[in-house]
Amino acid sequence: MITTRNWILVAILLLLGAVPAAAAYFEQPFYLDLLRRVMIFAIAAVSLNLILGYGGMVSFGHAAYLGIGGYAVGILAHHGIHSGWLQWGLAIGASALVALAIGAISVRTSGIYFIMITLAFTQMLYYLGISIEEYGGDDGMRVPVRSQFSGLVDLNDGTQFYFLVLGILAASLFLVHRLVNSRFGMVLQAIRSNEARTRAIGFSPYPYRLAAFVISGAMCGLAGALLVNHTAYLTPEFMNWTRSGELMFMVILGGIATSAGPLLGAAVLLLLEDVLQGWSLLPREAVRDHWQLYLGIFLVLVVLFARRGLAGLLPGKNE
């Protein structure tokens, strides 16, 4: 069953597919770069939406998996291994393992505990990144060689890289769409909706929530591998707690537990940041230097007054 909303999402993806041609025509390669960044964060937000939106787990530590994905690529590259298959495989596998470890402890808890624990473990990984001098420590390190895929795709070619990211974004959206409508997804949403009832009809929440947590972490790890290829630079800042907050904000801004929400949220937030930092209409310094002030005000206003998110404005039935 394909809803109006999902047709709109498909249309957005098709539009994104037309961007490289348009960017080349108007000679604005900068936008290709910006949209690639938007799509990479959208993949991370899609993965977070699976547990935050559909699973009701307020994870304040999702940036951890961006970091692990990034470090998996960066560390292998540092030691001269440039195979994308290995790098990205490690990014996904290591993220899944870390999510399993963090999830095994945190998923048993709920409410404020869950929020603080996911935040704390991510901070632990952040400090770990800072303290390992071998891989750049505090300053991070350059990852000058992009992942190599036996000549299949060339990530040094901006357009090819762009289409690869777009493809992975589309695949992530489709995967989450299937997941949340499967038996597994129904249980996940049931636990969010009414845990006592779900236990009473015979489901133990723990394994389902943990599985979702691991899937989500692995998907975000892949986004991390893409991000480090995009920036060609790896720093512990990938795992900064404000990053986790931004990912959550993308999901809320776009519309929690909707398929198009994470993409819309990532796009609006990152484009807004870009605009605020380069806005020429207002006194430049006041806005550019303190754009986080406006972001903060925007965030508070969205939470207080626009709870349904941008996807709620789209035509079609609310999911």
């Binding site: 402890i105 048993r108 404020i112 704390a120 404000t242 809320i252 002030l293 965030l299 508070v300």
Partner: protein, 307 residues
Amino acid sequence: MNYILIAEQTLNGLQLGVMLFLLAAGLTLVFGIMNLVNLAHGALYMVGAYLTTWFYQATGSYLLAVVLGLAGTLAVGIVTELVALRTLYERDHLDQVLATFGLILIFNELIAIVWGRAALYSTIPDYLSGHVQLTDSLRYPLYRLVIIGVGLAVAVLLWFTVSRTRIGMLIRAGASNRAMVAALGVNIRLLYTIVFGVGAALAGLAGLLSGPIYAVQPGMGELILIQVFVVIVIGGIGSIRGAFAGALIVGMVDTMGRAFLKPTLATVLSPTAAETAGPALASMLIYLLMAAVLAFRPEGLFPSRGS
């Protein structure tokens, strides 16, 4: 091992511990009684440090600066509660996290607009500087001893208030059963504002005390806030006793880890391996401790909820 060094690090651990306690005490009550996730608690710590530093520079009187700094933080805290946080009590945790995350950005930028992004140089008056000869061979900074003294005094005062007074009874009842307190006909709004104000003032106190030791700069609140979360998770949400125990444990473990882990590892590993693993492990230690506590006591060491 060097016993002088151990004694000195124990005092350092105690000093970090009471600092964390000052922050954790207010926050754990806000969690427990209002069921509010307040990320902006660290911002009040920052406000306390800035206001006091600024007042000290402006007036030249440290005591006056401390009084004004505390009053200012209290005022900022209460205004924040009235304007923004009050509307969040009935919202879910996700909204609370995001809105208070937004508040952090706002506070940090406002501070940066007023005082700039560079770290402020915070001083202490002469009568608090210098060292104290504790034993023949142990000299310890007077100011850090003062912090320990103030922290322990506050702990005793809080313990007395919570366990021996009427308001303390309400606070304890509120932390374990909010609906019950509301049913007793207590003005719950007022209780919330009082608890939040006290928490804000304690955060400001921690901030002004820490100013001369750590850097006074925008964002200083968040780094310590996450450590405070670890304290509260270990101690158990809503429990002053838990906050105290958790704070001392975290303060000690963190300080000892940073001081002794590398040399200890060097006795078993190669020096280069210890050079890498020591700092890495030391920075992870309190989080691993938290994981261990949670594995055995998911509600923390002193759970106050439900029962």
